[in-house]
């Protein structure tokens, strides 16, 4: 689904409880079309290949992209906001199809090392199967220049996970926040690497940005995209008031 300009959104069904039950868990994916030379695209959070309810998440993403005239083979860069399998799971599969470069937060890679070692049993018990990922580049706080004139700010937003990154497109006033905030709620902090205090600080930091489109990581019984400065401001106020006391 075209969002604005070259930005596209592929939202995983889950606005209603029925959808959540039927489709299970997967993240929303976002795409910036033709951002790189040779008309290559940037894909943020590819989601899983297949999820816990046996939904073919990657097939669905490919099919939704096709409807917009975009091919998975033309993905040149995959940016993962964090190292949870429902976000990065299909990275290596898409790399095989496209030869794309794979990026993730620097600190998140440390989590991946632990996840494949001493933490693997604990994560398995929480339902986390960790697919392989071999990043080509790490991202941390700073500027990301893409193609001729596209600039994104990478912002470290720990809380849901230790090395979670957000991608802010200042010119377009778009923020891709992974599992930082949703419509009326926040990412969970009870997964290894999570921290309530860090999440609150990250949210306060992002709340100061000039954002017109807040693109969230999931539609947990709520829309995945929050549009408009006032709506976004209101969402942060609700989160401060209703969610912060319980974090």
């Amino acid at each position: 689904m075209k969002l604005v300009g070259d930005f596209y959104a592929y939202l995983w069904p889950g606005v209603t409880m029925q959808e959540m039950m039927r489709y299970g868990n997967n993240c929303n994916s976002y795409l910036v079309a033709n951002a790189l030379p040779k008309s290559k695209h940037i894909l943020v959070d590819p989601g899983q290949v297949v999820n816990e309810t046996r939904q073919k998440c990657l097939d669905r993403l490919i099919s939704e992209m096709k409807k917009d005239g975009l091919k998975i083979e033309d993905v040149g860069l995959i940016i993962n906001t964090h190292a949870h399998p429902d976000h990065y799971g299909a990275s290596e599969e898409i790399r095989k199809m496209s030869g794309a470069q794979v990026a993730i937060g620097k600190e998140e890679n440390e989590f991946l090392k632990l996840a494949s070692g001493e933490m693997s049993q604990a994560l398995k018990s929480m339902g986390f199967e960790m697919p392989e990922i071999h990043p080509d580049l790490y991202l941390s706080e700073g500027e990301l220049r893409l193609g001729k004139d596209l600039v994104a700010q990478i912002i470290l937003i720990p809380g849901h996970s230790d090395g979670h990154i957000g991608i802010y497109w200042p010119k377009e006033k778009i923020f891709m926040g992974g599992d930082l905030v949703f419509d009326g709620s926040t990412g969970r902090v009870d997964i290894p690497g999570g921290s309530a205090e860090a999440l609150k600080a990250s949210i306060e930091r992002i709340a100061k940005l000039d954002i017109e489109y807040l693109l969230t990581g999931h539609q947990y019984s709520s829309p995945g995209i929050i549009k408009g400065k006032e709506q976004i401001k209101h969402n942060f106020e609700i989160i401060r008031r209703e969610i912060f006391p319980y974090l």
Binding site: L36, A103, D136
Partner: protein, 186 residues
């Protein structure tokens, strides 16, 4: 409870079957069977040790086997030595403790110093290759239209580094195998 009884019966039946078979076995076959049993005891003990069984409790278990202790210890050390991961010297510490206890300090020190040498050689190779590999990755990313201060090239997975590391690993693994063989000959 009924299930437990079945398990007990079944184990008893198996033991009786084995005893019956023993009658028809040659002395070589009997020895082979005995060795297999001792090997399985060594393997089981090594697994329990790696899961946290204290070395004194391993000694107590070994005490049950009197004249076969030495054979079991050989198997135990052999399995433990196989669990040594060249890339994880910290994880090898517990194994080295057991080797130190059962095979003596020289064997454990030999393996310990080999692991340290491997770690140091890997670090040296990393320092030597890091700049070149990073520069190559920066060039590749620039060609793909990706740049900026947020980027840190991830070169641990680059084919050149993987190959260099594998070569080092293979060289040191051969040396480790030599030491492992000397443990088996104890």
């Amino acid at each position: 409870m009924a299930e437990d009884n079945e398990k007990v019966k079944s184990a008893l039946e198996i033991a009786l079957e084995k005893a019956q078979k023993l009658g028809g076995m040659s002395s070589d076959e009997k020895q082979k069977l005995k060795d297999e049993n001792l090997e399985s005891v060594g393997l089981a003990l090594s697994k329990r040790y790696l899961k946290g069984l204290p070395v004194r409790d391993v000694e107590i278990e070994l005490g049950k086997y009197k004249e076969d202790q030495k054979t079991i210890v050989t198997y135990l050390l052999s399995y433990l030595a196989n669990e040594i991961d060249m890339g994880d010297p910290d994880g090898a510490e517990r194994i080295l403790e057991a080797i130190n206890h059962f095979a003596g300090a020289p064997a454990a020190e030999k393996i310990g110093s080999l692991l340290n040498e491997y770690r140091s050689a890997t670090e040296k190779a990393w320092q030597k290759n890091q700049q070149t590999l990073e520069a190559a990755k920066w060039r590749e990313l620039a060609r793909l239209g990706i740049s900026g201060s947020a980027i840190k090239p991830a070169i641990e997975g680059s084919p050149e580094w993987v190959e260099a590391r594998q070569q080092l690993h293979s060289d040191y693994q051969k040396r480790l195998e030599g030491i492992k063989s000397s443990l088996q000959a104890l």
